[in-house]
Symmetry: C2
Subunit: 232 residues, 2 copies
């Protein structure tokens, strides 16, 4: 892990994925007019969290130390500990970021209400999950790699299981109302459908060839209509 | 990482995923009749490789040391180094195991020949890739998590890119022959289709509810025919 010198700080900040939705809180008041900072830039807790998630995804969580994070940011370890209590706290915050967004989306999709079918809510859920994944790609990537090696990871896996169960129930509802074919088990459909969505984290780039709507349209077309062309 | 005592050796071996296709080579001659081993069981190179891949997947490659592997197997580090030259050698062998199988499958699917269409070869490739993934799940899991942190990893990513390019070309051929719809970019179709296949590594269990053929049928049904039921 190379130690970054002072000139590299802004480049380091620029290396974070631009798709990450930064929390809007800051420990510093906004400057009245833009001006060039001198010396070491300030890092607030959200900036440290972003850097930590990027490093966890690049090196693996277990292989990353607070010392690695300090070197990456050009800070001392005490400067890091001024903002965070532990590496695990950063992991927990990142996993909560992903899980809170996904939980909100699944809760909305699961809410039965007049004028919508389960099929419509399932299609909307696929679209929304692509949006969440793109907007929170680093923390969702981290979430999808969690193996259950600690209490924090086990708690995240427990929340993921709840999401998986709700999605499988939504698919089952869409089958029950006659909108979806019934010859593939709903739980298997749910795993494969959202497995296709989740696979985005491995290759999607915000500056790449496809915007989120194009990807969501493609997944919905493939999953619900299929790729095979039936000639009229 | 707990140090395993002598009684735990067989349990440790049993924890490896049963779906892993073990290389048939062995440094020890086969015993003429089965008999119960006494004391420390022998570990040959394939057994050490299987344990290493399981540990890399559980802890992350960068966080796993040869010392961790020795403790997991109840061996000394010199005993490990009697069989392997480095941790990276084990990584390279595991990645080659996955890549060799996938390359053989893609090469076969890409081979144009009389009496087959690109559409048929694409469907066969989906089925074959599920089989490879299930039979080599630990090494494919490791492959799919490679980030490019070393020469070995960069070489693996280069081979993965070749596979991705061939799969995208196969999809494009199936579109060109009129078998697949042409309103989703072939490269995006390829990423999503094989993203759905690859997502298996995260949840598929050989002792679970679905055999490989059921999973392959489900993927082929979803991707080519779609889930939506059109009432007659």
């Amino acid at each position: 892990m190379a130690t970054l010198d002072a000139e590299d700080h802004s480049a380091c900040g620029g290396a974070f994925r631009p798709t990450y939705a930064a929390p809007v809180t800051s420990t510093e008041p906004a400057a009245p007019t833009p001006r060039r900072r001198r010396g070491r830039p300030g890092y607030d807790q959200p900036a440290i969290l972003r850097a930590a998630v990027e490093l966890f995804n690049r090196k693996g969580y277990d292989a990353t130390s607070v010392g690695d994070l300090a070197r990456e940011l050009g800070l001392t370890k005490p400067a890091i500990y001024h903002h965070v209590t532990s590496k695990e706290q950063l992991l927990g915050q990142a996993l909560d970021d992903a899980l809170d967004e996904l939980t909100a989306a699944v809760t909305e999709a699961s809410r039965e209400r007049a004028g919508t079918t389960a099929y419509e809510r399932l299609r909307a859920m696929v679209r929304r999950s692509v949006e969440v994944l793109v907007a929170h790609q680093p923390s969702v990537t981290l979430l999808l790699r969690v193996r259950g090696n600690s209490e924090v990871e086990l708690a995240a896996l427990e929340r993921r299981r709840w999401l998986d169960d709700r999605l499988a129930a939504l698919v089952a509802d869409a089958v029950a109302e006659g909108a979806l074919r019934d010859d593939v088990p709903p739980k298997l459909v749910s795993r494969l459908l959202f497995g296709m969505v989740n696979s985005l984290v491995e290759w999607y780039r915000a500056d790449g060839a496809y915007d989120p709507a194009t990807v969501a349209d493609a997944i919905i077309t493939i999953a619900f209509d299929g790729l095979a062309r039936y000639e009229p």
